[in-house]
Symmetry: C2
Subunit: 344 residues, 2 copies
């Protein structure tokens, strides 16, 4: 059996020397290297940006979408949307575990979700069985490879698979909140009403104790109402996060000039960096989960207003993130019911 | 006297409701609001990206460059390059201090450098006196406004002005290094041979103690040689930071698989995010000063390889950054001599 590289560089066909994610084309031969895992795929959970792009390009015609997905995977050896660059995750059953795969507790027959992006996962699709236009999921007869550095979670028996998949997709967010927020903190969660935002709110509320604050800024009236109903914040503001001075004025009305210890940005529209920075206190922290974040707007913005804040690039991985997120689904009946309705 | 907003929003002409930096046009009337400072400008230190763009567009013809700079400032009320979006800094003499400017110790006649970007500083140029093609500096008869939140440093009497200006331009970098690096740490400074990189090296060497390591990865042979001669690192590697696996292999040869506690990225070319992430240990930290950093490459990259690292957006401001940086110039004769030769 051939020896594989921890990061999967042995699967990169072009350009040579890069890692699997930036690569144009991966080797998707479905026989494993010594440190890999072979997975029989059940469902692909396509990243929302990618699925929306494909759906748009095909006028929501599932036959055409099937053709497009097969052509992408045929060409690249992975399900990485060439327009958005993004991937998604998958669930499936372990078929074979290489003798040098780091976690030898993983067993053939285990049902797992991969927690690394499809944009770097070798994939071969034999047949697409169903495309679900409402939740971005594609059921397929397919196989995939997990590298030695690849993250995964064994699916729990007490949570429906597709619910677990929907929650695990954003598992990094509440795990980072858990690390950052301390008792008594004032936390603002911008875009707190979405999937990732709600999990962040829940975790922040767990951490702040009786004297802290969780302020949600949310664009959608309906999402804001839900946050209130589920008791996931101490204050909910409906507003447009791109309107810097409006949000700044309304948040400081609640917090005073001393403003927030931690700001979590979950908004998926551009130009909310300054809003996040202005409502953070000096030596406070802004955590940017939004993939619409502009590095230079954040960097120059903080200096421009003389704010000594730490600005952190959202990392979708944190040790223990899958367990923490599945525990939220177990503990919060409200979030569980809502996620089942919205995403399953 | 009219009351001004702390962040200068009262100077924004269009679009209304934004902050001075993203604004298209500022009011550059040179009579101050109650919380502003009026400055008689001596020299503009144009941001390198902006200066290079202007020089290129004008074929290094200083008469044409003068015309272009005057036209930008005439149109926007600030020296913000419309192509690069960047600004720079200035030095000048305080002409008037508003009664509500926060620091009333600042006196008329003080020589200061502004530490906020020219991209948000109201500026009116009467006459350009000289454009120095080798150090990006423009001597001018001009006036500028500093907002209440605007950062500045009173220029020290023991350091030549233009040397101070060159060092203060990157003052944030060594100040952040000072916070992040602890005794015994293994630190890698990617692009350690440039202006900002050398200051970072110096500060890291101060902090690591006898058992730490400072590893510099530098593209230029000449810069690498300088770092060695000045004793600013324990290890110097000449290499291309975009070549992920090459740098990873060579750094881990020095550090072992446990790799670096802190990685500082100062490289001004794209696609060095993965290199930085791979050489950082789990729960270590990558600090991105490079304005060529892609937010999404960093965010997806760390998750893709399962690295639980903190990735921080470089903030050009940190409390005390100007003093710390000027002190390096005072203490390190080698850096001082080199900066004088290169930037003054």
């Amino acid at each position: 059996m051939n020896k594989g590289n921890k990061y999967g560089t042995h699967r990169v066909l072009e350009p040579k020397g890069t890692l699997p994610q930036p690569a144009q084309k991966l080797d998707n031969t479905m026989s494993i290297y010594d440190n890999e895992v072979l997975i029989d795929v059940q469902t692909l959970n396509i990243d929302s940006a990618s699925f929306t792009q494909i759906k748009g390009a095909c006028n929501a015609d599932t036959a055409k979408m099937e053709e497009m997905i097969l052509s992408i995977v045929g060409e690249r050896g992975k399900m990485q949307n060439p327009v958005t660059g993004s991937g998604g995750m998958l669930i499936g059953t372990v078929k074979e575990v290489g003798p040098n795969f780091p976690n030898q507790n993983l067993k053939v027959g285990d049902k797992i979700a991969t927690l690394v992006s499809l944009s770097l996962t070798p994939l071969k699709i034999n047949k697409i069985k169903n495309i679900n236009l409402s939740n971005d999921q594609v059921d397929a007869d397919a196989q995939a490879i997990l590298f030695a550095s690849g993250l995964y979670a064994v699916l729990p028996s007490d949570i429906p698979e597709k619910l677990a998949l929907a929650a695990l997709d954003v598992a990094g967010a509440p795990a980072q909140v858990d690390r950052l927020v301390k008792e008594g903190d004032t936390v603002c969660i911008i875009g707190g009403g979405g999937k990732s935002g709600m999990l962040c709110c829940y975790q922040a509320m767990q951490k702040i104790g009786p004297n802290g604050k969780v302020i949600v800024v949310e664009y959608s009236e309906e999402n804001a109402r839900r946050i209130k109903e589920l008791g996931l914040a101490t204050h909910v503001l409906v507003g447009d996060a791109t309107n810097v001075m409006d949000v700044y004025n309304r948040v400081t009305e609640i917090t005073g000039e001393d403003s927030c210890d931690v700001v979590i940005n979950n908004v998926n529209v551009p130009s909310t960096e300054m809003t996040s920075i202005l409502i953070t206190k000096n030596r406070g922290c802004v955590y940017f989960f939004s993939m619409a974040t502009s590095f230079s707007k954040a960097a120059l913005g903080a200096e421009g207003v003389g704010k000594d804040v730490d600005m952190i690039v959202g990392n979708g991985y944190a040790l223990g993130h899958a367990d923490l997120t599945l525990d939220i689904i177990r503990k919060s009946e409200g979030i569980r019911d809502l996620f089942e309705k919205l995403y399953v």
